[in-house]
């Protein structure tokens, strides 16, 4: 077997920017790697200083690709626990351990009326997707978050506490949007209940939809089967790996009642 391909690398952090509401953006500079990325793919990331910071190094964390320019790859991350917190503390000159790019990515289409539905930290992969789709498609983007700290640029914002945009869940007005905008394709990423509700409403209208799922991961490369989700039709289903066969699945094939 030939020499391993450079799937695991360490790169210096090019910039780290704090945003409001526990979010931050990490950027790395790597033209070769940038060329390999596709919307919907992710990296397994870890702050290299995690090894020296704590006596016990921990698992890598799956983080979507938020943006890719010619030479820069960006990640938009929310501080949630020890892994993302230690990533947030990394500054320029610190090293980032990276495995990737991983996963299948979103199908890229043209000439469609597309709706993007994101919730919370489901925003970043759709942002990258938006950039790739906008020239060839009509796009409408709705985003939902807990409060004003969880909103990002899009066409329509929903917050649960009503502190910004419309008050309520992002899926609240979905039926109207689907018909008014003549949507024929949906991409979604966010918490499972949001994805479920989105599927429930849109499937009544037979609209094609793809969703990016989240799962707790150990290896990120398909060897541990830790990230499996139930995918298939009726009794013909199996647990497929979010890191390998996903994270993007056709929403019709996700067994939502088992999630």
């Amino acid at each position: 077997m030939s020499k391993p391909i450079p799937l695991y690398i360490k790169r210096e952090i090019y910039s780290s920017t704090e945003l409001t509401g526990n979010y931050f953006v990490l950027r790395i500079l790597d033209e070769e790697l940038a060329l390999k990325c596709k919307p919907g793919q992710f990296f397994e990331l870890r702050a290299a200083k995690m090894e020296t910071d704590c006596s016990l190094p921990k698992l890598f964390k799956p983080i979507s690709i938020y943006d890719v320019t010619k030479v820069i790859i960006s990640f938009l991350i929310k501080k949630r626990g020890s892994g993302t917190n230690s990533l947030s503390k990394s500054t320029t000159t610190d090293l980032l351990e990276m495995i990737g790019p991983l996963g299948n990515g979103f199908p890229i289409v043209s000439g469609r009326n597309v709706l993007l539905v994101s919730g919370g930290i489901g925003y970043p992969p759709l942002s990258y997707l938006y950039k790739e789709l906008i020239a060839q498609n009509q796009i409408y983007w709705i985003h939902g978050g807990g409060g004003s700290n969880d909103v990002f640029p899009c066409n329509e914002v929903w917050t649960i506490d009503g502190s910004y945009g419309n008050k309520g869940m992002v899926t609240e007005n979905l039926e109207n949007i689907l018909t008014e905008k003549k949507i024929d394709l949906i991409y979604s990423c966010g918490p499972i209940p949001m994805l479920k509700e989105c599927f429930r409403k849109a499937s009544k209208l037979n609209i094609e939809q793809y969703c990016s799922l989240e799962a707790y991961m150990a290896c990120g490369i398909g060897s541990c089967y830790g990230c499996a989700v139930p995918i298939g039709k009726n009794d013909q289903w199996n647990y497929l790996r979010v890191c390998q066969e996903g994270p993007v699945f056709n929403a019709e094939e996700v067994l939502w009642n088992l999630l």
Partner: protein
């Protein structure tokens, strides 16, 4: 100049290993070889297969604790037939190191049937019997917790193969020495140990368990002292080689296990924490042996009680 000798060479009964480092079943697949160079590996152990396909357990299946990992994968695998038709040809093509097939059955007959089927395939150097599955003939208790059952199983399987027959022991037993001895006397040619330790984690805020199944298998750094003590106990009473695993992460950990009696070691959870673990552990052991100008066999089982 001295002819170059491979100081890390080791043997597992019927197979020579160019490196004492193997990988723990279920934690390392061919895709890992996109990261790690395989010539640092002594042997490749595949994920446990069963006679029929297994879907595995509902998610979440993983949770990382303060010192180690909990998993409840539930032996998800494509089943023996699909393994032979689809996975084995690829493994044979891609691997340059010996392949050890891990499998598990629910009755003596099923174990035997699987072994006989695998015997017809080329390119397999040995078997690792995962005896953690419930045994249907003995009220559903796991094969591996009862010395008589382990003995019976080995006695039935050993005459069916010339290949390496490894029995993988569970730590969740009261006397590991007795079980290791039962395997040896039954005809096993090597022992591997340990499988995961029972473990659990609960979200303190809402009282929900972190794994859908509640209790899972605990592996990684936190189980190293347990694995080492069990190895020490087993090595005292048997004469066949032992592949040790359980919390080995660095080369220094590996050396502890060699001193305690392991002929080879496996890296499991370490592959998730350090994607280059196989290479890094190899390099560390090699440097240690070179520096002292000794070979691995000079230290295997040479521990001393303080």
């Amino acid at each position: 100049m001295e002819p170059s000798v491979n100081k890390l060479q080791t043997s597992l009964g019927r197979i020579m290993l160019q490196s004492p480092i193997t990988v723990a079943s279920g934690t390392f697949a061919l895709d890992n070889l996109k990261i790690v160079e395989q010539n640092f590996l002594g042997a490749f152990v595949c994920k446990t297969i069963t006679r029929h396909p297994k879907k595995g357990n509902p998610p979440p299946r993983l949770f990382e604790t303060e010192a180690g990992l909990l998993n409840s994968i539930g032996l998800q695998n494509p089943g023996l037939d699909k393994f032979i038709a689809e996975d084995l040809p690829v493994l044979k093509e891609k691997l340059d190191v010996p392949l050890i097939v891990s499998f598990s059955g629910s009755s003596y007959a099923e174990f035997a049937e699987m072994l006989e089927t695998l015997e017809k395939q080329e390119g397999i150097a040995g078997y690792e019997l995962n005896v953690s599955c419930p045994n249907v003939e003995n009220e559903g208790i796991a094969f591996g917790v009862n010395p008589d059952i382990v003995h019976q199983l080995c006695k039935q399987l050993a005459p069916l193969t010339e290949r390496e027959l490894i029995v993988k022991l569970s730590p969740n037993v009261s006397d590991i020495g007795m079980i290791a001895k039962a395997a040896e006397e039954g005809g096993a040619t090597a022992i591997s140990m340990i499988n995961t330790v029972w473990g659990m984690a609960i979200n303190y805020q809402n009282g929900k368990s972190m794994l859908q199944k509640g209790i899972g298998g605990y592996s990684g750094i936190g189980i190293k002292p347990i694995a080492l003590a069990l190895l020490y106990q087993a090595a005292k009473v048997i004469h066949i080689p032992i592949i040790a695993m359980g919390g080995i992460y660095k080369w220094q950990d590996a050396l502890e296990f060699f001193w305690a009696g392991a002929s080879a070691i496996s890296l499991g959870t370490a592959n998730f924490i350090d994607p280059l673990a196989v290479q890094n552990v190899y390099a560390g052991i090699n440097a240690f042996l070179q520096e002292r100008n000794i070979t691995l066999s000079d230290i295997v089982g040479k521990y001393e009680l303080e």
